[in-house]
Symmetry: D2
Amino acid sequence: MTTTLIRHGRIVTAVDDYHADLLLEDGKIAAIGRHLQVGPDVRVIDASGLIVFPGGVDVHTHLENTFGESTTCDDFESGTKSAAFGGTTTVIDFAFQNQNTSPLDAIARAQSKAAVGASIDYGFHVIVTHVDDAVLGDMRHAIRHEGVSSFKMFMAYPGTVMVDDAAIFRSMRMVGEHGGMIALHAENGTVIDLLIKEALAQGHTSPKYHALTRPSILEGEATHRGIKLAELAQAPVYFVHLSAKEALAHVIEARDAGIPVFAETCPHYLFFDESVYDSDDFSLAKYVMSPPLRSREAQDALWTALKTDDLQLVSTDHCPFCMKEGHMGKVRQKMHGKDVFSRIPNGAPGLETRMTVIYDGGVRTGRISINRFVELTATAPAKLFGLFPQKGTIAVGSDADVVLFDPQAEHVISAHTHHSHCDYSLFEGHHVHGKVRKVFSRGDLIVDGDQWHGTPGRGRFLRRGEVGGY
Amino acid sequence: MTTTLIRHGRIVTAVDDYHADLLLEDGKIAAIGRHLQVGPDVRVIDASGLIVFPGGVDVHTHLENTFGESTTCDDFESGTKSAAFGGTTTVIDFAFQNQNTSPLDAIARAQSKAAVGASIDYGFHVIVTHVDDAVLGDMRHAIRHEGVSSFKMFMAYPGTVMVDDAAIFRSMRMVGEHGGMIALHAENGTVIDLLIKEALAQGHTSPKYHALTRPSILEGEATHRGIKLAELAQAPVYFVHLSAKEALAHVIEARDAGIPVFAETCPHYLFFDESVYDSDDFSLAKYVMSPPLRSREAQDALWTALKTDDLQLVSTDHCPFCMKEGHMGKVRQKMHGKDVFSRIPNGAPGLETRMTVIYDGGVRTGRISINRFVELTATAPAKLFGLFPQKGTIAVGSDADVVLFDPQAEHVISAHTHHSHCDYSLFEGHHVHGKVRKVFSRGDLIVDGDQWHGTPGRGRFLRRGEVGGY
Amino acid sequence: MTTTLIRHGRIVTAVDDYHADLLLEDGKIAAIGRHLQVGPDVRVIDASGLIVFPGGVDVHTHLENTFGESTTCDDFESGTKSAAFGGTTTVIDFAFQNQNTSPLDAIARAQSKAAVGASIDYGFHVIVTHVDDAVLGDMRHAIRHEGVSSFKMFMAYPGTVMVDDAAIFRSMRMVGEHGGMIALHAENGTVIDLLIKEALAQGHTSPKYHALTRPSILEGEATHRGIKLAELAQAPVYFVHLSAKEALAHVIEARDAGIPVFAETCPHYLFFDESVYDSDDFSLAKYVMSPPLRSREAQDALWTALKTDDLQLVSTDHCPFCMKEGHMGKVRQKMHGKDVFSRIPNGAPGLETRMTVIYDGGVRTGRISINRFVELTATAPAKLFGLFPQKGTIAVGSDADVVLFDPQAEHVISAHTHHSHCDYSLFEGHHVHGKVRKVFSRGDLIVDGDQWHGTPGRGRFLRRGEVGGY
Amino acid sequence: MTTTLIRHGRIVTAVDDYHADLLLEDGKIAAIGRHLQVGPDVRVIDASGLIVFPGGVDVHTHLENTFGESTTCDDFESGTKSAAFGGTTTVIDFAFQNQNTSPLDAIARAQSKAAVGASIDYGFHVIVTHVDDAVLGDMRHAIRHEGVSSFKMFMAYPGTVMVDDAAIFRSMRMVGEHGGMIALHAENGTVIDLLIKEALAQGHTSPKYHALTRPSILEGEATHRGIKLAELAQAPVYFVHLSAKEALAHVIEARDAGIPVFAETCPHYLFFDESVYDSDDFSLAKYVMSPPLRSREAQDALWTALKTDDLQLVSTDHCPFCMKEGHMGKVRQKMHGKDVFSRIPNGAPGLETRMTVIYDGGVRTGRISINRFVELTATAPAKLFGLFPQKGTIAVGSDADVVLFDPQAEHVISAHTHHSHCDYSLFEGHHVHGKVRKVFSRGDLIVDGDQWHGTPGRGRFLRRGEVGGY
Ligand SMILES: [Zn+2]
Ligand SMILES: [Zn+2]
Ligand SMILES: [Zn+2]
Ligand SMILES: [Zn+2]
Ligand SMILES: [Zn+2]
Ligand SMILES: [Zn+2]
Ligand SMILES: [Zn+2]
Ligand SMILES: [Zn+2]
């Protein structure tokens, strides 16, 4: 394993910001100092003018995930390569509990898929769709012995993945006692389901009805409910893809009271808003994700909350489906819902653009500090989900997951140049300042400019510790 | 200047927590690494079993400060020595604008006093008691050219230091434009003054009436007013010694809205409550500080707020007056108000105990994490008041202000063993876990166990940068 | 029909308070004046020293209602007599939709029962347990043509009466458009059901576990959810038996925002608290109602809310079951749950004591004004549920439902002297000031001291108009 | 004194709404009934198609009031005539304490002026500008013996009428103990004064700067402060002319908590907004009142608050100054500030239009119910300020102050037809539905269509009872 010295970089962590040399040895950060001396066998990289960030940690991705009849178009190989090019060196993906099977089976299945393809390190949340005593026992086992300490449950999608409040409450209470955490998709699925059926019955089939049938008040309601269940269970709770102002208000109120409530938002909620839905065109299918895009007012509130720590992290919910049916051999993608919006698979790509757009739209514009950028994209995710200090920071002893970032470099985002299999990018044509130049994963230089040096299978499964202790 | 290698310590910053060696060279942190190699001329200190913290930063101290007829019993010499023994290596004290003189004179006077006595580094806030165009010009000059970027104003003490809302507003607006910040003592002085006069008229002269005439609702009122003035002025605002639940609620509400409002609380509000005032005994004079101690409920809320970042730092408001008249030659101390509580000089010591009691009562009990401890006592104060990254963290290039702290060592706090001139400690007899073992200031080992190696005058004036940018 | 002149009474309405004579003619209030002149055929009653109130309106009673295997022990005959002796001259009871039958059938069945027994006027809410297009059509018909404009739905009791959020939302939206209103029993039934099963599995069978398995946070959650469903449906909503402070907070917040949210509380929540549950004794079964009694703090908040109009009315939720099995031939009463708390029928009597205890505990103590007393017990219920101005006030043209109340008379409440079939009173032994002396229903003197002049069947079904227009 | 029978009217009070005949005898309401029989000497008026309202009560008028160098253009004669034509039969005006004189002198002076000119009944609030022990004693005397139970204090206008927080607090505490109440003009005068001076120094002299120098945040601040002072004093408090959303929010929060806080708003805040200030024209002087007009959003919030009882009444703050200098001999009117906005006397007319515009813009549009209209304009003012039941309702025994109102009649508001001396109306050209047809004051028909039958001096001073007991 090559030892590397990164010279003269500007090292930025969630709290610090200084110039120093950085020594990567045996896959770890070995030393940080002014003018470190190294031998001739050490690879020396000049990082003058570059920022040295800890590699990004994205805790919400869907690689090779199947929802209903559709499977996301990125597998672990393309997805983790795409992540790496975007400066993300760790993902937490999902292991899906098929009805009436064990969460442990789900973990095993997910691991076998990822082991083949992943070029960066990864962990899993289990999506729990059925709860009984045996399942709860297996969840406890997963926390204690399998390094899987978080579980996602759905308050939406009745008939497929939605579980009832009692199942959520039981799970929260159990995992809360054992150092785990429940992540919730919070939307009132029962009412949404009615609204969808009514829309279809009225002949409203175009993609914009996806948004119109998922009003923000129903995300707010479910978020409040999730918080109250967690409060009763005396357990922490995590809200994925928070988008609605109403939901945010409940999170803020709970956090003010010292209740351990956490939430992420996603780049698309920070840069796009519901005004895009103003057409019946099928091209809007690219904006069909759940929750849908919200108001400008909500967008502003999300940015404020990122600053004030009312939101703790930015994840992608990378859940890509191609717009063109058959692209790269993928079928039942967005066009699956051509005639009826409810069959459009929900989700959008984002893994490769997260770091860049948050830097450009957050740090450069002054909305968040550069330290907060690192906290939101790397440190907080690692701390909250039991990966710290192995991941998420630049400190002696941590994994040498390091990104060299050029804050001056300008480029235009495009699906033509990204590494995801997805045939579109929400940020197509966005001109941004800041570019990932080099990426190290455990000391290996896997991205070097446009060159890819990663290999499928080099990524390792991360056994995570207790969550929610952030 | 001796180069020092601190081996095998557990280095803790506001975000990180790892084991490494730490090299202090030329007064700076030069390197951090596993197994750093050094030459024979380097002093090597084994920190096994010890925590390596950044030196504490206390932004609210009153050394050689005169209020009315009384002067605090610690001068810069005793005060900074006391600070150092408590693990604090930077203080921000006060320069007092005498009525109708320039803030610049105040700074010069304060500097000349501190230059003689201080053994650790220091900065100043100017206490502004009169505002006109010339004063505003001088304040701007102080920010831009003198390294003094914060100014304290009083909403209490009419007839002496209280200024009116317009003066506060004008000052906020001006300093906000130039990277400065107003710190407020927020109590409604006019009403308190009435309550005091009424109490005295009724023959209520004992110390407990100090507390009874300063109800928490009046701190809440003034805090709200201060926030609104800041909001109108579009400037940041800082509240010193926040103690009341009502005041905290306003700070929380403002921060939720993204308004740049900051506040400190003090150790005495975190460990004592108003129940101590339940007697007419003069010994209660030691608890005569402003604001007074509050309810248990308020205390709990303060701890929660420290955790949730609704309070950003813990300062001491070290404002010591001896209980025994003539102790160490100090006169007009607490006994000055023997016959009438309103003449008791307000304040209590705390500089030496801050780090220890917050560690013991906060970290050890699980109320706050060890990273948050560092943030509250060193990093946030440094960032908020323009001292970062020179002070407040352990990172390459920062000043080598470092504390070796033994988390296992137990000891009993006492005025008999502290280094302040004050003849009492609020924490007298408190048994705590955790003890400062060694303290470095710019690489100099100034505290080594019970040994004092600091010298008066070695401390340097800190020219501070922009504030409020935290 | 006898014409009656009530002389020299103190007439109190929701707004007025004056002395005058009151003429009741043809079942209506015909005139109010100083020194009204009447002929010799007019019955003249001297009301000197008495208060003349409008007859009480109780919109939440359960007469001859069957829940599971148990039927309330008061039928329309005993129940309405009991009401009249307590100063209540109008009740709104429930018509129960058996699964998959029409609400219209429910109304017809309820009417046929009441027609035989009722001695005062009555209306119905339909309890809707199943919603589909046909049911919605029948609900609309009920509002428009049957004088039934309110419908109760349960967020608790899964497997029997609970409906899902979509059913509630659809119903709200439809009735909101047609001048009707949904009344909600707001508790999160799914989680409560789990808690009950767990309690039983742990061998916790005594009545106090009824309370322990229905935490107030779950009433708060459901109340919030109900409000949000109503907001989305743009319809008014009414919360029955609000008891929890958390629930009240949500109602207050919604009302502050101008959202048409209404709520009642019940006398038992105003006079008793959870401290009664501190035993495993079966005698606590008399306190088994849903929601259970709450904290003292909640009780205080309810009283404040009655004053500030955050709660709009006081109803009884009169739902009596005897403690002694077989009393008056009633079976499957409270003893039904002797071995397992979950089989205790939920509910308590209260119809006869409502006016007296609210007067004594509210008006006499100064918690609410005497006008507010009338508003809470008569005017607001009548206005909110479409009975005004026929019922709920003393004004020319209104029904001559009038109570002569002696505010000085003291008495002790007891099941031995009340007229309900129930063998206990929650207020047994309470010494109160204020007693109903005479009660007129549509001009008929049905209660005269201890004498009963009412007759079963004289009560009339009230076709109600639009609701929620208060 | 003529006895009058009003036949077939629709009588509307704060709670009732019914058709009946109304007998006015000896200046009182003697009887209400269906088909009242009267002798031939009784004047019978047919009110078919008309609404019979209680006469309006306006608790905020400035007749013959002098502020600085300017005196309002309506004296008691023109002002009360104008009131009567608008359906208002009671006013509470102001008695002004000249610096260092007794409030009792102020009352005597005001009484002597009103006694000559008033044609309707009137009371006074004392404007207290200086507080000491003697003044407090006289205030107590005024409550107990002079029928003056409310006192207005200013948080604005430093150097003239502003008093400090201690003076307000002392006054609140004293009057609160004796059944009185402090009314506050809540704006932060110190900061406003600075903003005015700065605006003038920058050459901003046109009327719109009146609005720009009185930002709503400063009304919010002062309102919060006033509430906290009242809370500490355990006394009720009343806010005059509440206009800002921020101020309203504080009132709502206090009322939710059960604190006795009351507030009025004025018609101009309900119908106009700050958009009128968008010019440098001097004609904007007619909109120069304090506080100035606010945002549309604030306007909506005020309407909602009128509905939800967060605001309790609508008063006019009738404070008229002519636009044309010398009109009707009045000088130093609006033109006084032609060259500098700060010299424009603050205020606008409104007494004659209050009832009509609130009916038209509130009741007819469905924003408030017709009962609420009566409550806001007559009943609540009377109750809150100790005039009930003599004034403010239609009930047997109350003063026969009655308005016959034609809800169908349409007319256009104009200064050409109003009875105030003021040469403009804010509502000039507004086309409204609803017109006052006849007005009775204590049984005297003083307004009959366009005919004026009132006489100066017939109005009586009203000795008011306890306030705040609403
Ligand atoms: Zn989701
Ligand atoms: Zn997802
Ligand atoms: Zn202070
Ligand atoms: Zn201080
Ligand atoms: Zn119920
Ligand atoms: Zn019920
Ligand atoms: Zn005013
Ligand atoms: Zn005024």
